[in-house]
């Protein structure tokens, strides 16, 4: 018999889980499948949840595994563009003068520890991730959210490792700029 309280708790989490699955997979149908798989896995074995971590952390952990399954299954049908276009190179080149100096030097970001405890900061970060180009976001989140190693990602996506490093660098540059403008400049910590 399904524990109704657990069921309700999971249903409450569903919208957040869907948003994150979508951020990673960038496909509504796949995101819904991954979330459904994760919720079913939790409901089928509710006793596996020891209570040592929060239910939310536990469910997100399972969701990550389900998303990885989906990425693996769709790797063959969903290729990443391996050749970045010109505008992609500009993301890097626009930051520097011809002799490699920064055009506008990055400011310090204040107290990182305090920032990491603010829900609002994570809301801003979610918006910044949404704004990344889909391909860029997908690769970046495989690396930084799903914590896959670079060898595995380059194999899954059929990318050279040097290409992968550049894609990750671009994603970090974009994210850095977005956070700088929309969080650190506004909160006065920059």
């Amino acid at each position: 018999m399904i524990n109704t309280t657990l069921f309700q708790q999971l249903e409450t989490m569903r919208p957040v889980l869907l948003r994150f699955a979508f951020l990673q997979l960038r496909n509504t149908e796949h995101a819904e499948d991954a979330v459904q798989d994760a919720l079913l896995a939790v409901l089928e074995k509710p006793n596996q949840f020891s209570g040592a971590s929060s239910l939310r952390t536990y469910v997100i952990g399972i969701l990550k595994f389900k998303i990885i399954d989906h990425l693996r299954a769709s790797a063959r049908t969903c290729q990443i563009d391996t050749l970045p276009d010109q505008s992609e190179d500009d993301v890097i080149n626009d930051l520097f003068t011809a002799n490699g100096h920064t055009i506008s030097a990055p400011n310090a970001w204040g107290d990182p520890e305090a920032t990491l405890h603010q829900q609002d900061f994570f809301n801003t970060m979610e918006i910044c991730l949404e704004k990344l180009p889909p391909q860029n976001a997908r690769v970046f989140m495989m690396r930084e959210w799903l914590d896959l190693d670079t060898d595995e990602i380059s194999k899954e996506l059929n990318l050279s490792t040097t290409n992968l490093w550049v894609i990750l660098y671009r994603a970090r540059l974009r994210l850095r700029e977005c956070l700088d403008i929309n969080w650190f400049a506004k909160t006065g910590s920059a």
Binding site: T102, P106, F122, T150
Partner: protein, 60 residues
């Protein structure tokens, strides 16, 4: 990699150190540059901060 990388090169290394092991030359060149370049030091800390934040993500 040159012995004394410029800001553009150091920015790239600051990102790549999160994805691969830097060579001794790269690592030394970057460390020395970071000692006197505040812009790159800030950038380097921000790259590490972004990783930390992504690992905590999403919080409630």
């Amino acid at each position: 990699m040159k012995l004394n990388p410029n800001c553009k090169e150091v920015h790239k290394l600051a990102s790549e150190q999160l994805d691969r092991e830097l060579s001794l030359t790269e690592n030394t060149g970057m460390r020395v540059h970071l000692l006197f370049c505040r812009a790159c030091s800030n950038f380097n800390r921000q790259m590490k901060f972004i990783r930390q934040a992504m690992h905590k993500f999403p919080i409630e």
